[in-house]
Symmetry: D2
Subunit: 340 residues, 4 copies
């Protein structure tokens, strides 16, 4: 099957990751993470950050978010996020269901949340009828493909901590953000004041597996139980761990993100040359939002499956992946031009 | 690393499964299960049973149990199981946490539950202070390695349905039970009256992935939402599906189970020749429960990691896997004899 | 202490209700609702409606809403309501916590929800990443004191049922709505298509106790267990039941609501004569929303405690109660005039 | 209706309590507990103990237990109690449902739990597959009417704290225990090491209302939110508070408990004179467990409704109340003698 632009999770597994999986399939090791592959992967993460962090692997991205959040608040407290956040829109209510708490949303601004939107929510403090804001959750990059600057994250973390709150980052595509910012991970996470983050692998070339990272290690202490209760403790853990080791080794994460982001820019250039199509948002990572002539939507979807972002506005979303090539994009653009 | 006897999930992945994973890694396919690999795997399951069933794949065994149970009862209802059930002992409270309901346990009899133990619980019916029994959950094989006969399952299903209850089966090792019973799957599940089951793959040679099967398809209707809310919808679903296709193809499941069960019998024979060791339970599948001379426990664990089942009784649990060989067992027994 | 205007729950208990409580305090009766007082109160409710309804008493209004909703949906489904709904704003996340589901909100229009706002939410149907809308919950009267017309409720019910959803009504102040509409209860509830409602007593002269009414009796079947699990089964139930009997007897509910609504109209007339104050919403029941000169807010609150509705706009909320008198209002208005 | 022996909650309200309710029904006060009646009742509780405690009022006893427990543990932790505990048997799964955690039970010994039963459960510590014991919950008096001695409670508290656990007391009938022990409340609660307790009023002459007391005030900090989310914040709080003030005033609690306990002893004496009946447990408070000649059970229940404790053993439970008189018992015993 050819490569499409519906989502970066329509891609398969990077060959280096697959190789690591095959190599991990040797003999018996103790289950549930007490194995040398996991030890090595955790060490690689500690090397990526300042060392004194807690790292846990889970199966998927929704779980990484939900279980991380579970450690950060009680059920009478609230998670503040945008109305476009993955935790609000795309997790079928898992955050509320598992944490027992409430999401309080504000309208997104290019996918981001701003302090002036959060500040009025602080009025709930101390009033027992209202859930108590405890966590600010941001996506980096956002669901719109935009990227918070280091300064923006620092400001949000400062505001959170000043108000006795914590900062959570959904980093399902955090490699793409790091590539776009051109800084290392810790600059815009650990050093910027993030307390807990989801660190994604699956959307950037892994088969399965995401990491939950606790920069505030006081929060991670009981996570091994929460992970099990959250149905996310893999028995054959080595097959997640080996992937992450390969992912961090030789900057494979960066190599993959660079390809995906670069191809998004390349596709954006082509679209800018098509007067009937219009990019509705800046292309900062690997997602593109494009308004299309209505008559081409169905025939194009028949050739290249993708999702409409705002059907009423004829706006579709396209994503590039670690394995997208210039040739893929040229062929896709040729199809568009033919249909237009 | 050499093969040990701590658990069948200490084993790796069967080469045929690995080959299927590699072959599935071609190009892009739509995520979340709308792909040809998943279509094929579901067809293979439908072929295994009477066709009119709902099949869903999840990441792990705890989730298969918990999410399946979630469809079977409301929070004010109860799950009846033995005190040794995996859902009671080994899932860190996930069943109560996710379903919001209560587990009501009875003492196991060789791992099994008997109708005469459940019958008195029916007195709770209609009394609003008491949770209302709604599901009987059995493990096949049990946590003690014993196997319910077809008649036993039929009787439990009949009792359940007569009392407006449902029958759930935790089949994390169901292949081992089928091999031991020497009947096909549907004889002791679908045809015996089971309503919902977890069908395991990971403990019998897969990398990750379990199936939830609804024989009562009225229960499975909303499972796609429950799976997502339960944080178990894999985006790159093809990598679970391709494994299950290989697992069911050419009876790989049976080949693997036969090896594991056969090696357990072979190990049991060796132990029977060692007067200082004693098997505490009949060996019906791939688990052995053995009382050991106290002085050999620690040195043996140092060579071959395993878990104590009942430390106070010096009883350990050993498990064979799909890849256990006679040579592995001979070497293991030599170590035991040396230490004794 | 004098009567204030902070909320109708700052009032005490109507003398007829107190008398009923005192009379119920005779000898022993069976607990938990199997008593003649409860039988009589349920009969009174059945008489008020078309008879074939389920009625259950709980302690408080938040519980009436939350436990009623719990019977109407699964955790993967959603409750649609306005951003001003009591269940969204004022119940500290109890609906999400107890039902495990999600609230999906739309901006209120004078406290109301409109079908054109709900219609786009139907796009989530069938998409497993999104919670599935199942219940529309309205407040009658709304938190803004406005009242849905019979036609509006009928239209919402029709839309809900056409879309496989249910209609829930938070009737914490439903007596005030009935008085304002000048129709009997069943016209704008049972006959209009409401499926489940909270029927309030406490805000209209009772000491404690609310009713959950199931017009769709299929939904009420297991409520006795849900009520107990929801920690709302009163052991000495007769003391709620006797209140409700008195509340429905001789139309005490109407007498009380008429007084509260009438006094709100009387207060509104006074305010209309004060050029420095402005009513921001139509006064349809017993709540008034008023913008105040900033300098009088604190001194007035010192004399008459009340809540600001929108502090940024200097908008306060005043409520009249069943025991508010013209003299109370004259004295209150004199205080305002003095401060202005 | 005459007084029966089914439960102490079949009784009505003590006249002094009713008088307090009537007196509290004066004018308007601020809702939700910011009123002088509540201030006074809390002061009375602080006076009863050593002062530095947190006290909150809720509607009912199940809620007092469940919401208190919610503050003491996370969902991955476990509550250890006997198999006869009210939280295990009689709350329709509310503890699991609301806290999301698990109850781990041991067989009761005359209603009590013993340290030697809890000690083996500590083996779960650190093992992520098992819920982590965090709270020991005892009932004082127990569901069997027995009373823990001060020494027993001290020992349990010491064991709990040594093992990083907390001690919870279900004191639904704590007045009866205090009367039986003939010591003041704080001796066997606060001073003995209890961390959180439910302090009951309803079963000893109140109309509704129970208190949750935090001796470990670090645990009570967020309770005002948990109470609201738990649907237990009464708007007209003064009507609970005024009852508690009267309950503690002039030792009304003791007067009532003395009557109930004394009448239980009196009834026990009568039963001891009836050779066909047998007390199966020591009568330490106000509950009696009696095996009855089978042929009298139904006719006696027709005259005096009561519950069977163990129907298979023809064992019934009778309870005396604050308003039981010698005449009530004489008449009851006459009925028994007639039927025998």
């Amino acid at each position: 099957m050819s490569r499409n632009f519906a989502s970066d999770n329509n891609a398969g597994v990077h060959p280096d990751i697959m190789q690591a999986i095959i190599q991990a399939n040797e003999g018996h090791v103790v289950g549930y993470g007490d194995d040398p592959y996991t030890e090595q992967a955790i060490a690689a993460f500690r090397n990526l950050f300042d060392g004194d962090i807690d790292v846990y692997f889970v199966y998927g991205g929704t779980a990484a978010n939900v279980l991380g959040l579970q450690t950060m608040l009680g059920s009478h407290q609230a998670i503040v996020c945008t109305d476009s956040a993955h935790i609000e829109v795309d997790e079928c209510g898992a955050p509320e269901n598992f944490t027992g708490s409430k999401l309080v949303t504000v309208p997104n601004r290019d996918g981001k949340i701003e302090i002036e939107q959060i500040d009025p929510l602080m009025e709930a403090a101390g009033f027992p009828h209202h859930v108590q804001p405890k966590v600010i959750s941001i996506s980096q990059p956002t669901e719109m493909g935009t990227v918070y600057t280091v300064d923006e994250i620092q400001a949000l973390a400062y505001f959170a901590h000043q108000n006795n709150m914590l900062l959570h980052m959904d980093g399902a595509r955090v490699s793409n953000a790091a590539e776009a910012l051109n800084v290392d991970f810790k600059t815009f996470t650990e050093h910027a004041g993030v307390d807990v983050m989801s660190f994604g692998g699956t959307k950037n070339g892994m088969m399965f597996g995401e990491a939950v990272i606790f920069f505030d290690t006081g929060l991670g202490g009981d996570f091994k139980y929460i992970r099990k209760q959250g149905m996310q403790l893999h028995s054959k853990m080595r097959f997640i761990s080996a992937q992450f080791s390969a992912f961090l080794d030789n900057d494979l994460w960066l190599h993959n993100a660079r390809q995906a982001n670069g191809m998004a820019r390349y596709l954006a250039e082509q679209i800018n040359d098509m007067p009937q199509l219009e990019l509705t948002r800046a292309v900062e990572t690997n997602g593109l939002f494009v308004t299309l002539p209505p008559h081409i939507i169905d025939p194009l979807k028949a050739e290249y499956f993708f999702y409409m972002w705002d059907a009423a506005q004829n706006e579709g979303r396209w994503m590039t992946a670690f394995d997208t090539t210039e040739e893929d994009i040229d062929r896709f653009c040729a199809a568009i031009r033919r249909l237009v």
